[in-house]
């Protein structure tokens, strides 16, 4: 079994892999703790993991850390759902009808390459510093990427499926719902999961620039007073939320698409 782990393209059981993953993470944490405690690095640069944990606990009990996390999560989900609700139908139509694809591809490709931070000033001019700006920036960062991913998923639906459905008497609309959407389901859900992750990246940018709540705001205000443990605690919370959401969505994916 140990040999399998080291053999080229070898296999391992899920249990072994989880154990190895946890052990490695623990080792990194331990190393970090030792380095920090030995004073090899100044604590304002690298506080120990235990310090970060303590800071996190204080923030939860006295500084509404969980409330900030909830605010951020709601922003992410809001923007993500708006982006998805627009990108899925538009992406599917882009690959179904050449007129839609030919019309939109150049515009989308152009906007896709604009870096979101570069559009922050414009966004503030347009929407001020309220919720709209944050949602807009998150939407901007995800919609244009997602729409192309969806278009690609649709393009990859085997043409055989479409032709089979035609010869069973289906109309294009029925093929979209009954065949294409079902055939692209697994990759579509995967792409949605990945895009949701990007939302968190843009969230921090949006909250650093203009916010008085949310995890980005917490991290940024802690930085001002060089409270490194608090900065790290904020980052860790984002990481944890990401990890948990991702695992839940993966489990959902497995349940939805048992037939793969």
């Amino acid at each position: 079994m140990i040999r399998d782990l080291f053999s080229f393209r070898g296999r391992a059981t899920a249990g072994t892999e989880i154990t190895i993953g946890i052990l490695t993470a623990a080792l990194v944490l331990l190393l970090w703790e030792v380095v920090a405690r030995a004073g090899l690095v100044l604590p304002q640069f690298l506080p120990s993991p235990t310090n970060v944990l303590v800071a996190m606990w204080t923030m939860v009990t006295t500084q509404h850390l969980l409330w900030h996390a909830a605010v951020s999560s709601i922003r992410v989900w809001n923007a993500f759902l708006i982006a998805a609700a627009m990108a899925v139908p538009i992406g599917i139509l882009m690959s179904s009808y050449r007129i839609v694809g030919a019309a939109l591809e150049p515009i989308i490709d152009f906007i896709r390459y604009l870096p979101v931070p570069a559009l922050v000033p414009l966004s503030i001019i347009w929407f001020g510093v309220g919720e709209e700006t944050k949602i807009f920036l998150l939407w901007l960062g995800t919609f244009f990427q997602l729409v192309l991913l969806v278009a690609d998923d649709m393009r990859r639906v085997p043409h055989e499926y479409v032709e089979i459905a035609f010869t069973l008497g289906a109309k294009p609309r029925q093929i979209l719902w009954d065949v294409a959407l079902r055939a692209m389901g697994p990759t579509l859900v995967d792409n949605l999961r990945i895009t949701l992750g990007w939302c968190w990246t843009y969230l921090v940018i949006a909250e650093i620039v203009a916010a008085d709540s949310g995890l980005g705001f917490v991290i940024w205000s802690a930085r001002r007073y060089v409270k490194t443990p608090e900065v790290m605690a904020g980052v860790v919370v984002i990481g944890l939320i990401g990890l948990i959401t991702d695992q839940i969505l993966r489990a959902l994916h497995r349940r939805m698409f048992r037939y793969i």
Binding site: P158, E160, Y161, E163, F166, T167, L168, R182, I260
Partner: protein, 256 residues
């Protein structure tokens, strides 16, 4: 026998400047199994797709019972070599999908038809299995059953057994003959495998290299009879016919 069931009337097809099918006229009898045989890429698949209404002739017409084919519908069903069954539906679900766009059937009739075709292809035990859990041969059976359930009169099969191992392939050939006898469907079967063609066909149309034109029209039933036991594959008549057809194709592709 009605020889004018499915007719090709001076059909040509070009893709851009490339002629793929040149001036083909043919008549196919109802409930016969006709094999389109020819070298790879000769245009026989294109010709079959025209019957399905998935592509349109550049000139000429294809008539089914005197009516020009104007597009795909459930009277002419396709069976492909790969992606032939829907992976998100069970075996029974795939067969039922064939009836999804028919509103002339009651719920009871639908489930009766599903059981009927499950039985016909011998997959009752696998009714609730997904395609990834069954073999390639079973998946091709499912595709056939789905078309039959839809009520197709003509089955268009594009090298449907091409990806199967030799033994499975042989079994499916036997079963296809049986299914065709039981369900009396007209089948157009495209292949480049001579042995498969001779065993399966009532009639073989041998096509030239691209652009496809009819080289030879062979009445296999007249030579081998209508019932095809597996043993026929070892008979003198079978060998003779197979060799004749092989020579025809070799001469055509210039590999002799």
């Amino acid at each position: 026998m009605r020889w004018d069931y499915l007719t090709f009337d001076r059909v040509t097809k070009t893709f851009g400047n490339v002629p793929v099918v040149s001036d083909t006229s043919l008549s196919i009898a109802r409930s016969s199994l006709v094999v389109f045989l020819g070298p790879s890429g000769c245009g026989k698949t294109t010709l079959m797709r025209l019957v399905g209404g998935l592509d349109f002739p550049t000139s000429g017409t294809i008539l089914l019972e005197g009516e020009a084919v104007a597009g795909p519908d459930r009277r002419r069903g396709m069976v492909f070599q790969s992606y032939s069954s829907f992976p998100w539906l069970t075996v029974a679900g795939n067969i039922a999908f064939g009836m999804r766009y028919r509103n002339d059937l009651t719920t009871l009739q639908r489930s009766e038809r599903v059981s009927h075709y499950l039985k016909l292809i011998g997959l009752e035990e696998f009714a609730t299995s997904y395609p990834n859990r069954i073999s390639g041969g079973m998946r091709q059976r499912v595709a056939i059953a789905r078309s039959l359930a839809a009520g197709s009169d003509v089955l268009l099969m594009d090298e449907p057994f091409g990806a199967l191992d030799a033994l499975t392939r042989e079994r499916l050939q036997v079963e296809l003959r049986e299914i065709q006898t039981k369900e009396t469907k007209t089948i157009i079967f495209v292949t480049h495998d001579v042995e498969e063609a001779v065993y399966l066909a009532d009639r073989i149309i041998v096509f030239s290299g691209r652009p496809a034109r009819v080289l030879e029209d062979i009445d296999v039933t007249a030579l081998l009879g209508e019932t095809r036991a597996l043993a026929i594959r070892e008979s003198q008549e079978f060998f003779k016919l197979r060799n004749n057809v092989l020579h025809l194709i070799r001469n055509e592709t210039g590999s002799e």
